[in-house]
């Protein structure tokens, strides 16, 4: 019986590891080609590089303002996440301390936002940002990403029920104002959900393509993903350089994945499993 189980496990490994290799193949493909010349890529696209040749990396960093677009993406992501979490947690806090018909009406109204896809508000939002002179600015992107605060509100609100109410009450008796209770008591208590929601929303903002593609036009305001897209034409014949660019852009995501894997899976499950 035991040996049979062990053989089953070996068979599973023998099937699943090649399948995983197949799924991961595109990543192998782009990584090996970053260290080849155009000629080598054309002749043997799948072979391992003959030497550790970092010329493509040097070339990509010299031709594209990668540091600039990395900084843009970073600033937009951090600003958007902070804004979303503050707006979302404030509303969740309000619904915790004020369980009246007003709160229920607001919650019911906010659910409507889930029914509205971004695409359906795109044209009015575009004209609004034109009026506000925020088209083609990083601030404009942050304004648009603030829409994510409604999703944050719902996830945080669900978690906030776990905050022991006696703690808030005690603080209140000690004479703390609502703002102080929110800032020094409630926010630290709900840190786990803030991290989970923050990680999830950060992935959305960092990876988002549609918003910068529509709202950003000048190269100095490009995010990383948009820069990769714009560079396709530039590198249409120089494939190794393009692969190098994508690898450079993927590196932060790999690090993020390795560090945050637990939180990513948490968020994935949290949104769907109750309790």
């Amino acid at each position: 019986m035991r040996t049979r189980a062990r053989w089953g496990s070996v068979t599973t490994s023998l099937v699943m590891i090649p399948l995983a290799a197949l799924v991961g193949f595109p990543f192998y493909y782009i990584v090996v080609n970053t260290m080849k010349t155009q000629q080598e890529t054309a002749n043997s696209p799948l072979a391992l590089p003959t030497s550790l040749n970092f010329d493509n990396y040097v070339e990509v960093f010299q031709t594209l303002p990668l540091v600039q677009s990395f900084a843009n993406t970073f600033v937009v992501t951090v600003a958007s996440i902070v804004l979303m979490l503050v707006v979302g947690s404030m509303a969740a806090f309000a619904s915790l301390i004020r369980q009246t018909w007003v709160s229920r009406a607001i919650a019911a109204m906010l659910v409507l936002a889930f029914v509205v896809p971004f695409q359906s508000t795109l044209i009015p939002l575009y004209r609004m940002l034109v009026d506000w002179r925020l088209v083609d600015t990083l601030q404009g992107l942050v304004v648009l990403y603030a829409a994510g605060s409604i999703f944050c509100y719902f996830l945080i609100q669900g978690y906030m029920r776990t905050v022991p109410f006696e703690v808030i009450e005690a603080a209140r008796v000690d004479g703390a104002g609502v703002f102080r209770i929110y800032w020094t008591i409630v926010l630290p208590l709900i840190r786990p959900i803030l991290i989970t929601v923050g990680v999830f929303q950060a992935m959305w903002v960092w990876n988002d393509f549609i918003t910068p593609n529509v709202f950003i036009s000048s190269p100095r305001n490009e995010t990383l993903v948009l820069q990769v897209y714009s560079a396709v034409g530039q590198f249409s014949v120089n494939w190794p350089a393009f692969m190098t660019l994508t690898v450079i852009v993927l590196i932060p995501m790999v690090i993020f994945f390795v560090v945050m894997q637990r939180h990513i899976v948490n968020g994935l499950v949290q949104g769907s499993i109750k309790g």
């Binding site: 699943m16 609100q157 009450e169 990876n207 692969m243």
Partner: protein, 322 residues
Amino acid sequence: MTATTSLPEVAPTGGTGPSHPAGTRGNTLLRLRESAADYVFYLPVLVVFVVLFAIPVVQSLYWSFTDFSVRSPEPEYVGFANYGRIFNDSSMMTALWFTLAYTIGTTLIVTVLAIPLAVVLNRRFVGRNLVRSVFFFPAIPSIAVLGLVWGFILSPIGSGVLNTVLDAVGGLGPVPWLSDPQLAQLSVILVGVWSQLGWHAILYLAYLQSIPSDLYEVATIDGASRRQQFFTITLPLLTPAVTVSQLLLLTNGLKVYDLPFTLTGGGPGYATYTMTQSIIQRGIAQAEFGQASALAVVFMLIVGAVVLLQLAVARRLEGRIR
């Protein structure tokens, strides 16, 4: 906005932990309620809702009944003309058709593959954690970047690696993965499946792990085969996961834009044109605000119907399980 692309959007109220009875809470809250300042905490979220959702939706609705465009900057009422034109315009109809095909295609294929994958990933075997991570990883980077990478892999010319491999293995001529309309549609759908499969398998895995193992032990003692166990224990207990996963796939599929846009640019012709691309093309590039708004309203109705269905089914399932 549900633009949080890969997020599970169901279950906004994930109730964890004990909830306090409303009555006792009301009393302890008396002093807090004295201060109207509490409602100030709602202010930011209300601003977000009004500015980024309510006003744009009303504007879209209004413009969809007008001829508003760069050529006629003063909107004039035209009735349902813009809506009628959607069904007579081949690019908008193809966009609608392909968006639906992509949605149904990815939903079906991902669901059929993700459940067995999750069952296997739940078994014990050497290299399990690595295999899980590799399957999950394509969901992490931007799908726009992955679309571009696949463009190189599927390229018909010279170093298109898939064609190189096919040529070396079977001597097959270059397959026009992205230049033949049907093959291009298939390619987009398959890359979409590749990028989402692991994510959904992990979702199912989370549900599988919550199934108590003694259920299987009892079934084994009773002489149930592995297959019987799958169909009588695993599958029924996975029902909530199937609902969540499918409805996520449906909404994300309807909203698809990045993948076809970066992989094929919507082509060849309009073969892989999506509703989103059509809205952006009409509304931003060609500045036909009225026409694009009508398309945006139709799109909202379709997505809205699916999301409402999603919430209703999730709520109902939740009631049945508790």
